[in-house]
């Protein structure tokens, strides 16, 4: 099927903070208002609403959002959860717009894990297998999962703690160029090694921040977007991939541990659709929930081979002036942790040339990768050249 070309016409984000006095619903409303204003659209223009399929339905449901704004929905959708959902959201726009179901679609996502009592760990209780066989052993937080992966990966491929530090330190440098980043202090290698160990080998700076906040973006046809307030950012390709393994098992049982097979599936599909190769990508916003997971995704997407992630990062350079800038706003590690929806906003700003001191020179094409293990989403965005 030939899709109608789709663009992101507007983006909106709340200022990310550890704890917000506002409710998550108020934050989502603020983000959507900002995205509509950015696009120069009115609520009456919106006829489709999309979110992830797990977090938002229980916290800020789409019907509630539609009621707040008066959106007359002829399309309503949610798929996957968290990061994979945000990075693959244009799939909805391509299908709904090409199929004549909607013309203008708002996507939103937000969390209040800074304020919410269960924080980022509450969702593990959704999994029966984890409750029965992991929680009784004190295994109930994402840093522990990725610590097991990191130690095993170190054993198999010779990764060092300094390799992980390079990711954290470089992204911190990028974060300091963004006025909204939650992390505001410089971090040296010495600072990294002096930081508290959370679950070894992972330290505090290997782990993402905790944030209250929300982001939204508006998707419409490229043709229509060209008549709106901002320069459109084209969706060149989108992909979703996974493996048939449940969230119960994804961190401990896959035969090929420490791999995210969905990343390659999603990236290959998005690249095929975009008609480009990975070396055409000027920058990447990768789901860096942890330093180690950022490295693994660079491998799994296909930027480098298995086991070569650390060397690739060293040789390419992932800072703003590097050969492959990664997480140009500081990422989940140093900008904010809204499960990667902020990566989409950052990619759009880069491609509109609005990133200020963090601007990647000559940025034409950006890749966003979103992980919700085992699900993975990839969107490839590009500047519009009429």
């Amino acid at each position: 099927m030939q899709f109608e070309p789709v663009a992101i016409a507007g983006v909106g984000a709340t200022v990310p903070v550890r704890r917000s006095p506002k409710s998550l619903r108020a934050l989502v409303v603020e983000a959507i208002e900002a995205a509509l204003a950015d696009a120069g659209l009115d609520a009456s223009d919106v006829d489709g609403v999309v979110s992830d399929g797990l977090c938002m339905p229980t916290t800020v449901p789409r019907d509630w959002v539609a009621a707040q704004f008066g959106f007359q929905r002829s399309y309503d959708g949610g798929m996957s959860f968290g990061g994979a959902a945000s990075a693959s959201a244009p799939i909805h726009a391509e299908l709904a717009i090409s199929g004549g179901l909607a013309k203008t679609i708002v996507y939103y996502f937000g969390v209040d894990w800074g304020t919410r009592a269960s924080g980022p760990y509450g969702f593990h209780d959704l999994y029966a297998g984890k409750l029965a066989f992991e929680k009784p052993y004190g295994f109930s937080g994402q840093p522990q999962y990725f610590a097991l992966w990191a130690r095993r990966y170190m054993h198999e491929y010779g990764l060092t703690e300094r390799d992980l530090a390079t990711i954290a330190v470089t992204q911190r440098e990028s974060a300091l160029r963004n006025p909204l980043s939650q992390a505001t202090r410089p971090m040296s290698y010495d600072d990294y090694f002096a930081a508290r160990v959370v679950s070894d080998p992972l330290r505090v700076p290997d782990c993402c921040l905790i944030t209250d906040g929300a982001c939204a973006f508006v998707m419409t046809s490229l043709e229509r977007a060209r008549d709106l307030a901002r320069p459109p950012v084209r969706v060149l390709g989108t992909g979703f991939g996974s493996e048939p393994i449940s969230g119960d098992d994804a961190f401990t049982q896959p035969a090929g541990m420490m791999r995210i097979p969905g990343a390659k599936i999603a990236a290959d599909k998005a690249l095929r659709q975009a008609g480009i190769a990975l070396n055409d990508v000027d920058f990447a916003e990768i789901y860096d929930c942890f330093t180690i997971s950022c490295l693994l995704q660079l491998e799994d997407i296909g930027f480098c081979k298995r086991g070569e992630g650390a060397a690739f990062i060293r040789e390419m350079g992932i800072g703003i002036e590097g050969r492959l800038p990664v997480n140009t706003h500081g990422g989940l590690l140093s900008h904010s942790y809204l499960l990667g929806v902020e990566h989409v906003v950052e990619a759009v700003r880069q491609l509109r040339g609005e990133a200020g001191p963090a601007q990647v020179k000559g940025a034409e094409i950006g890749l966003v990768g979103g992980l919700s293990n085992p699900d993975y989403g990839v969107m490839i965005l590009g500047r519009d050249h009429r």
Partner: protein
């Protein structure tokens, strides 16, 4: 977001608990395709068969990976820090990786590949737990 879908053991989980209470380690094994799986499922994830039995294993395993936990993700464990969470593989139950704690011995002596053996205990609520020690 929150939170608990269920706080109960599913019926297909009980084989582990019942065996552990007797001091035995057992995992679900498919009689049709001859493979183990973990966690327990109502159907074999390899062949979709439903002839699943609990097959006892020796308990001898080795460390696939481990982490010393130094942060109280679970507030009730704040006094127990640091503790070791490990992922164990078993030569006689390929395809199973068990999450557990390593007890006894020095934490800094642990290494991947370390042979381990089970220790059967009851928790504060009388539920069986299976921890491991280095051997």
């Amino acid at each position: 977001m929150s939170d608990a879908a269920t706080n109960e053991m599913l019926p297909e989980f009980m084989g582990f608990v019942d065996n552990a209470r007797q001091g035995r380690l057992a995992f679900p094994y498919c009689r049709i395709c001859g493979k183990f799986h973990w966690y327990p499922m109502p159907r074999c994830p390899h062949c979709r068969g439903n002839e699943i039995e609990w097959r006892q294993v020796s308990g001898r395993g080795q460390l696939f990976s481990f982490t010393r936990v130094m942060h109280a993700f679970d507030k009730s464990r704040a006094d127990a820090l640091p503790y070791v969470v490990a992922l164990i593989e078993f030569a006689d139950a390929p395809g199973v990786r068990l999450v557990t704690n390593i007890v006894g011995g020095r934490h800094d002596a642990l290494r991947i590949g370390q042979p381990v053996a089970p220790v059967f205990l009851l928790d504060g609520k009388g539920r069986p737990v299976v921890e491991f020690r280095a051997v």
